[in-house]
């Protein structure tokens, strides 16, 4: 019974036998990103939220009124990462920032390739650097860069 052939074997693939739909709001955001566009959604109080949210953050109402947005914005808050971690979107020193897309009222999180910490300023104008290959995900935005 010592031969390899005598050992009982069974194939086993670990898989999750369900699919997840991103739904009408995140789905629209992702589809726009794939097409190289940005969108926001109108909240109950008229503010434009980007990234769009399915529910109003204050009243919890369903949201559905989309607003097309440009791929430019301004930095509201940032930090400076000297040594990127292995999974970070950039493998050189960069800033994480909250970026208010022009026409939106709430900021989104992303990376800014600014070269140096001293280049980061409040109200700094930035634009999207699109990923070479886009597939409908937040990573379709490779990062933002000074505009």
């Amino acid at each position: 019974m010592s031969r390899e052939d005598d050992v009982l074997r069974a194939e086993f693939d670990l898989e999750f036998t369900y699919t997840r739909s991103t739904g009408p709001v995140i789905g629209r955001f992702y589809t726009d990103l794939r097409d190289g566009k940005l969108c926001g959604i109108k909240a109950s109080d008229g503010r434009v939220l980007c990234p769009p949210q399915e529910y109003d953050p204050v009243t919890a109402e369903d949201l559905s009124e989309f607003v097309s947005l440009p791929d430019t914005g301004v930095v509201t808050v940032w930090n400076w990462v000297k040594q990127p971690r292995a999974k970070h979107p950039l493998q050189k020193a960069f800033a994480w920032a909250l970026i208010k897309i022009d026409g939106a009222d709430t900021p989104m999180l992303h990376a800014v390739d600014a070269g140096s910490e001293s280049a980061m300023k409040p109200g700094m104008k930035v634009k999207v650097r699109w990923a070479k290959e886009r597939k409908g995900a937040i990573t379709d935005i490779a990062c933002f860069e000074p505009a």
């Binding site: 991103t22 995140i26 955001f29 992702y30 939220l49 990234p51 949210q53 953050p57 808050v77 940032w78 930090n79 400076w80 990462v81 000297k82 971690r85 999974k87 970070h88 979107p89 994480w96 920032a97 909250l98 208010k100 709430t106 900021p107 989104m108 999180l109 992303h110 990376a111 910490e117 409040p122 995900a137 937040i138 990573t139």
Partner: protein
């Protein structure tokens, strides 16, 4: 409302790496210590509730193995939250309020030494717009710290003062991992890590476990000279998206503090779960605490040792211990969860 009081609390030393000790081994001695403090065995416990994170163990239902430490034969009434054990305490408190139990044992444990905790914490983020970017917990905290500095409310010097106080207070805490005398000037000379935060502004990675026992007034008064009564407890949550809230304040902490009745009396001590130095300042403001009147984090707080999933319970345990020892009459304990103080629990304890 039934009056519920904490009668016992035990904690392992917080260590950077517990080595070959697994969760059960970390827990067993601490459980026995908490039970023997009040002359109890597991048979005296009506309800047991734990808080831990399966991602640390790297397997679904990893928390179940920890039940081995309890000796759960014959079967016991037991529950678990995939949250800090402060929320396990909240569940047990509700169970007692509902009349389904009189005495509850709560435990929390975490062994973070074998994983990259700042990266692992990305898994709690919005899975669509944030998590795929892998913004680690230190990076997000640094964003919040910069928002606070830019607001002009505090300076880097204030952050360093929080750290110096924590290290100094921790000298009196035999369980603390980081302690010592540091001047603000010394700390400010250190280079930034994820700017504007320096390494000492961030909590350490710690392994450990904690156990707490609470019961009704009638039983508590027989078990303990000065039980620590929970006179208020509440938890609230802020919006999921970081851009949806003002990062320089903690609205959920403020509301939880009001609901728990923080200012219905004098606050002798406060233990705040602030994994990053600037967050202690935000929490202090949210709860309206004056450091001249209230001792803040006399244990050293999360900056002196941070057992992920037990640190919030440890804040409650530290306040309860001060009351049981007669060092304080009334105190506030706070626990947090999520990025940049997203979810917060506040408990008021009185002797």
């Amino acid at each position: 409302m039934r009056e519920v009081a904490i009668v016992s609390y035990a904690q392992t030393p917080m260590r950077r790496d517990a080595g070959a000790n697994n969760d059960v081994e970390m827990l067993m001695g601490t459980l026995q210590e908490a039970l023997s403090n009040v002359g109890m065995t597991q048979k005296d416990i009506d309800f047991t509730c734990s808080g831990s994170c399966d991602y640390l163990g790297g397997a679904a239902f990893a928390f179940v193995s920890a039940v081995d430490a309890l000796g759960a034969v014959p079967p016991i009434a037991e529950s678990h939250v995939e949250m800090d054990a402060a929320w396990a305490l909240y569940e047990a408190w509700l169970k007692i309020q509902c009349g389904k139990a009189d005495t509850a044992l709560i435990y929390g444990f975490g062994k973070s030494s074998h994983c990259a905790l700042p990266d692992m914490l990305c898994l709690q983020l919005d899975p669509y717009a944030m998590q795929p970017l892998w913004p680690d917990s230190i990076s997000l905290a640094a964003l919040q710290a910069n928002a606070l500095l830019q607001s002009g409310k505090y300076t880097e010097r204030d952050l360093a003062e929080v750290v110096a106080n924590s290290r100094r207070n921790a000298k009196g805490n035999p369980k603390a991992q980081l302690k010592g005398d540091y001047t603000v000037e010394q700390l400010l000379k250190e280079p930034t890590f994820v700017s504007p935060l320096r390494k000492h502004d961030c909590c350490p990675i710690s392994d450990g476990a904690s156990v707490l026992i609470m019961t009704t007034r009638e039983k508590a008064e027989k078990l303990c000279k000065r039980p620590a009564f929970i006179t208020g407890i509440d938890h609230r949550i802020d919006a999921h998206g970081l851009g949806m809230r003002d990062l320089t304040v903690s609205t959920s902490t403020r509301i939880a503090g009001e609901k728990a009745g923080v200012h219905k009396g004098k606050v002798d001590i406060a233990e705040l779960y602030a994994p990053f130095s600037h967050q202690e300042l935000i929490l202090r403001d949210a709860l309206g605490l004056d450091p001249a009147k209230t001792k803040i984090n006399p244990s050293g707080g999360a900056l002196a040792g941070h057992v992920f999933m037990a640190c919030g319970l440890d804040r409650i345990g530290a306040v309860a211990t001060s009351i049981m020892n007669g060092e304080a009459s009334r105190g506030v304990a706070h626990a947090t969860s999520g990025p940049c103080l997203q979810q917060n629990l506040v408990a008021v304890l009185e002797g």
